[in-house]
């Protein structure tokens, strides 16, 4: 009866930003990002990519509740780059990685297609 609509899991409500940033008031060069309508899929991915950055001293994510459809990502940097910049870098790097995987995978599909006739 009071069940939330199923689409609430993936439709960002009106007037809410997909990704927002709040600076930490007590720690320098630290900020918390709130990502709307995302879960472990993206949270863990971004955390991993942020940690690989030399400028990042801390990165972690939290999926507070399975019925709250947002995640928090906390980042602290050394100071040369702002949390927003390292986030930007991480997302760009991830896109590059997917592009690489895609092109290599397509190469394999072509190889399979030419070697066996049963392949679509």
């Amino acid at each position: 009866m009071n069940a939330p609509d199923r689409f609430e899991r993936f439709v960002v409500p009106e007037g809410v930003r997909k990704i927002s940033l709040e600076k930490d008031t007590k720690i320098t060069n630290a900020a918390t990002f709130t990502l709307q309508r995302e879960d472990h899929t993206v949270g863990n991915l971004i955390r991993m990519q942020l940690l690989r950055d030399k400028e990042v001293t801390f990165a972690g994510y939290k999926f507070p509740h399975p019925l709250d459809y947002h995640i928090f990502i906390k980042v602290q940097t050394r100071g040369k780059k702002s949390p927003r910049e390292v986030m930007d870098d991480a997302l760009t790097d991830l896109c590059d990685e997917f592009e690489d995987i895609k092109s290599k995978f397509q190469g394999e599909v072509r190889r399979m297609r030419s070697s066996s006739s049963g392949f679509l």
């Binding site: 995302e38 690989r52 997302l91 991830l94």
Partner: protein
């Protein structure tokens, strides 16, 4: 006493080796490299399970562990293993588990397909309840290209004057203005499988219904999941730590036929480990043996932490290789969207 001094000497040598290799920039000492690369399967516990992916992990050794696009491109390998009908297996080597897991999660719950969503029951006198039958219908894979039902842009120029006035439908509010054959082509929509049992009926019973399909994703309901399953595992490896020679080699080859073979003849014959992946049924035996006193010094089962063996079993709506490409696109689109709003 003799053996004691020997161990001291080897450990000194080891330390010297480690120091020497640590002196070269960018080169991890061998034991750390193994820890980074492999998870060791003990008889009742796995070791070195965690992934060291922090850029500062080895800064004390003067080694940079940060990510670079060049390094990623150099190490990345993809290898297709087999495709059988709707199933496919392929390897991705050189990626982080976070990426592998994100792709798996997307495959299961975020690739759109078409499934039955509304069922209008006209008559049902059979033993199976309407709601149960409707649920069963929802789970039947429907062979329609989900891209055909994507949201389309409507522009003001597309508004058409209806000379004959209103053509509003009456009952379900779901009548289509034009025939769908123009959308789906001559083949039309059909089911992937024609032989899925939905209900059984006694004489005189009847079921009359109309079902409406809509496009959706597995996150909303599992019926829209395009895969039966999608999973990954790590590449297993069997290592012989200390040479196994003589009759011990024979007995090992007998315990795990195929996985271990005996090379050479006479007392110096020794056991050789084959490709672990081709003898997967025997790997648990090796794991157990690696904890036994007789074999613990000789055998080790380990798994490569960056070598993922992906298996995708499609429901038949889309071919598995396309599913994987779509999951990559989906993930890239997610990152793009975040970048755009950042």
């Amino acid at each position: 006493m003799g053996s004691d001094s020997k161990t001291v000497r080897t450990s000194k040598k080891q330390r010297a080796d480690q120091a020497a290799s640590a002196d070269q920039p960018g080169q991890l000492p061998e034991h750390l490299q193994n820890q980074q690369q492999y998870m060791t399967c003990g008889d009742n516990l796995n070791y070195n399970v965690s992934i060291g992916n922090s850029a500062h992990l080895f800064s004390a050794l003067g080694i940079d562990n940060s990510w670079s696009h060049k390094k990623f491109q150099r190490d990345l390998r993809v290898a297709m293993k087999w495709v059988k009908g709707n199933d496919m297996e392929f390897d991705i080597i050189g990626i982080d588990p976070a990426i592998a897991n994100a792709l798996r999660r997307i495959l299961i719950s975020e690739i759109p397909t078409v499934a039955i969503e509304h069922v209008y029951m006209v008559q049902n006198t059979s033993i199976i309840a309407c709601e149960v039958l409707s649920h069963r219908l929802g789970l039947v894979p429907v062979l329609v290209d989900p891209d055909l039902l994507k949201d389309k842009l409507v522009k003001s120029g597309q508004l058409v004057w209806l000379p004959n006035g209103s053509e509003m439908p009456e009952e379900t509010n779901c009548r289509f203005a034009s025939s769908q054959s123009s959308l789906l082509g001559a083949e039309g929509a059909r089911l992937v499988h024609d032989d899925i049992l939905l209900a059984k009926m006694r004489p005189g019973q009847e079921i009359v219904l109309e079902a409406h399909c809509i496009r959706g994703i597995g996150a909303e309901h599992a019926k829209w999941s395009p895969v039966a399953t999608a999973w990954y595992r790590l590449q297993p490896e069997v290592v012989i730590l200390e040479p196994i020679v003589g009759s011990k080699a024979d007995s090992l080859a007998q315990i795990c036929p195929g996985l271990f073979t005996v090379e050479g003849s006479g007392p110096s014959r020794r056991a050789v480990a084959g490709n672990a992946r081709q003898h997967e049924k025997q790997l648990e035996k090796v794991r157990r043996m690696s904890g036994e006193e007789e074999w613990s010094e000789h055998l080790q089962l380990r798994k490569r932490k960056d070598h993922f063996i992906f298996t995708i079993e499609s429901t038949g709506i889309l071919p598995p290789h396309q599913l994987f490409l779509r999951s990559l696109d989906q993930l890239a689109a997610k990152c793009d969207k975040l970048l755009e709003h950042l």
